[in-house]
Symmetry: C2
Subunit: 207 residues, 2 copies
């Protein structure tokens, strides 16, 4: 590679490694020869809650220089708009938006010159479902941020992966996403690999 970044053997920080998606992303990246440091609130190599910007700062101090930062985490409340509260929207912002923005903002000082950030959003940014106003808000926020951050942090890169409901999660979320085409986790993890090992930036990958 003439661009100063080896495509195999990257040092990658994976946030939200304990979830269904995070586990699959971990397997995919480790299987391609990368050194993956897993981070979670309650499991993983390191325990941090990235909804707290101060813990993100501690995480970056701990891991040192990395080639890629990958997020597979971000919780939001699911309720009818009439049952939401202002605090619910604040929680969605903190849990899925600010958390991921801070990974990028703080990470700029810790990621390799041509390293990357890969954030998680979802289909609700484009196509709503009932109970999903907080999720849609969060996904739309992160996708627009990705486009804006990309032009500022180059040659560092930032992309989002924006999947539909996982085929593997239809038992849990199938009613909410009735009739919405699901996506296999294998296709979602492929989008992460594309973001981490590729050279594009400011993209929203829809696997």
């Amino acid at each position: 590679m003439g661009i100063g970044l080896s495509v195999i053997g990257m040092k990658i920080v994976l946030i939200g490694a304990g979830g269904k998606l995070g586990t699959a992303v971990h397997t995919a990246l480790a299987g391609r020869g990368h050194d993956v440091i897993t981070v979670g609130r309650s499991g993983g190599d390191l325990r941090y809650d990235f909804a707290d910007p101060a813990q993100t700062a501690e995480l970056y101090r701990r891991v040192g220089r990395v080639d890629a930062v990958v997020s597979a985490a971000g919780g939001v409340p699911w309720k009818k708009i009439t049952e939401m509260t202002a605090q619910d929207y604040q929680d969605a912002f903190r849990g899925k938006v600010l958390s991921q923005l801070e990974l990028v903002r703080q990470g700029v000082a810790h990621v390799a010159e041509r390293g990357s950030f890969t954030l998680i959003t979802g289909v609700l940014a484009r196509e709503p479902v009932l109970l999903g106003t907080a999720a849609s808000m969060a996904n739309g926020a992160v996708e627009a941020f990705v486009r804006a951050a990309a032009i500022e942090i180059a040659p560092q890169r930032v992309n989002a992966v924006s999947p539909s409901v996982f085929t593997e999660s239809l038992d849990d979320y199938g009613d909410l996403f009735a009739g919405v085409p699901p996506v296999d986790l294998a296709d979602v993890t492929r989008a992460y690999v594309r973001s981490v090992e590729g050279a594009q930036t400011g993209q929203v990958y829809v696997p």
Copy 2:
């Protein structure tokens, strides 16, 4: 009209009436025969800061039943991502996202059966410029929320108006939006009229 809502003489609450956009929207709506109640932090018929959800609640108690709620307000920090802080993104969320979400969430109980909400976003949801990560985030959040809220609150309606930089503001923002096609305020106010008097919902009008 057979749909229970007269298109002229609506009672409309306009937030952010003191700004360049708000002034133009006020003129356009009043000129079409509507009864416009102007609301601002420091000017207008009523003084409320809609970045505070508690003041939005007071506003709705004060105005009673209305046909339409129109927002032309929402400030965000403009800085390089490396100069932003977590608090800056929180401020952008509170000032442009939560403020407008709360107008809708709380407003559902106060707006006529086929009444409407019209929120303000902007071109940065789609096309970024330097210093605009907070603005892009906020606009993307509100546009995705509009699509999601629309399917829950029907037959009440909610749309966004997503303009480029105003031709009338090029002296202030022209450098940030160098080469970006501007839009005349007259075209932007037309989008507000379309949202308020029309019947569509979940739309992002790009004037």
